[in-house]
Assembly symmetry: C2
Homo-oligomer: 338 residues x 2
Amino acid sequence: MTGPEILPLVLTMGDPAGIGPDIALMAYGRRREAPLPPFVFVGRAGVLQERARLLKLDVPVHVVDTPAAGLRAFGDALPVIDTGAALTVRAGAPDPANAPATIEAIERAVAMVRDGQAAAVVTNPIAKHVLHDAGFAHPGHTEFLAALVADGADVPLPVMMLWSPDLAVVPVTIHVALRRVPDLLSTDLIVRTARIVARDLRARFGIASPRLALAGLNPHAGENGAMGVEDDAVVRPAVEMLQAEGIAATGPHPADTLFRAAARGRYDAALCMYHDQALIPIKTIAFDDAVNVTLGLPFIRTSPDHGTAFDIAGTGRARPDSLMAALRLAARMAGSRA
Amino acid sequence: MTGPEILPLVLTMGDPAGIGPDIALMAYGRRREAPLPPFVFVGRAGVLQERARLLKLDVPVHVVDTPAAGLRAFGDALPVIDTGAALTVRAGAPDPANAPATIEAIERAVAMVRDGQAAAVVTNPIAKHVLHDAGFAHPGHTEFLAALVADGADVPLPVMMLWSPDLAVVPVTIHVALRRVPDLLSTDLIVRTARIVARDLRARFGIASPRLALAGLNPHAGENGAMGVEDDAVVRPAVEMLQAEGIAATGPHPADTLFRAAARGRYDAALCMYHDQALIPIKTIAFDDAVNVTLGLPFIRTSPDHGTAFDIAGTGRARPDSLMAALRLAARMAGSRA
């Protein structure tokens, strides 16, 4: 009889000129105090070694062939699956020439999880504009992951959740101009998003009956139509459809009072209608340890809730807290699924 | 030689069916522990006495003719300037028949401050729909106050600031549908609002060089036009005009990271482009002790940052914290002006 199979996490390199290598090294250095689940870096070993020298971090790097070998090595060295030849990288100076290596690390990491070699993918930040300059046509990281697992025309709807111990939020519309939000929002989009959130909170967070609070679009959730019609015409029908399906949805709630401490205990996730409605409260409450989780994919993916921060890459000023929270949450989600 | 003249605050009744009478009585009961500056209730004495009985609060009420007499009485009883005959009020059941008394209390209180009899007006909550049913044509409390001091067609621009010890925010557009915000926002409106904020932070908060942080309208402040043009076309020119006038304005800042603890110390007030962008962070951080301050008027006005809460009026469940903060801030502002 054997115990449950233990699989490591795979952590992608991200943009090698950003803080991804910095925080990977720093997190590894704090693996015992945290404690962190075992993870394997997928990218270029030379980038990590150079960054460790630059940061004067005494972190040994050990190249391995498989996640399983990485798991065995993790106690003594940061294991790396080296995806190719050395890159020329200057910390803080992004270079489209390195875009293929950034993309390949993501593809390899996803393949390892889908093959059953790793428990989850944790991604370091990429910079869309750097990848775009190299011909990357996806709007962002998350959409690229959805495209990687598309089955022909059947592309999953990836749902972004920002998670912290005190608050989880899901923006229903994300990286669009505020002007476009009212027209992009539909009852169907809200319902499809909420179903994915409810399903993944059950399957991957172990919440038997997830409670979803839907924020209103307008001030005071429209105040009975006095300030906008969408809350009654679009959001409320979504709440009713979800309730009819047996999902514990409530709302539309006035957004301004939805995130105070006394209200946060009444739901497991807040569905917000646009980017800042979701990100303002969580970044205000949990700036350093919020985690970005992608729901709706056939594998677990988390990432730190910040960007490449080119301006501080290689300086030692980056903080690994959000990456460490992302690693811990990915392991927790993988355990909950098993 | 006499010391500086001490003037009491005047506190309006608000909607008599709401929690205004409850929190006035509760705040008076806690005047010593708080401590609170002296204030005089302007409205109907009978409403207060009945509410005290309902709440079983042992707060003596003393009718006075002038704020000066109220100041002398304040140590022993809650002083009331009685504005008329007894009303029939049922706590929690608003009645348009009482609208004239609600409005008269506001008019009388403002007149006393403008006459130099009181230091500032603190207003209890009103319910627009109750007043509208009685023919009140103003969009809200604040606009009514501006109209009261209008000089012919010259109506001041009243600016709403939500203030707490940790964060002050000013929504540039307020009670409008989110869909209308991008078109209502103009460089001129932002600049006029910011000038009033800067002037009043100097004159009434004693801040010699107020620092104003302007939030972007779009996610990531538009990310160089990738997500909306308004941040570059409307907000940035406002920042530049303000800087040219010598006002310490910065932005447009991405709104999601503007309210975390580490960022809040960098400005005295954040100018936000719409209601929830301003109210989400302050209600998340300071739900019970945020104060609503109206800038841009020729007198000082604060109010608690909540509504009439008809559902809990007369039950004892209302909390006077925000009113107490409003009273303290009004006194501080009056002292700073003097």
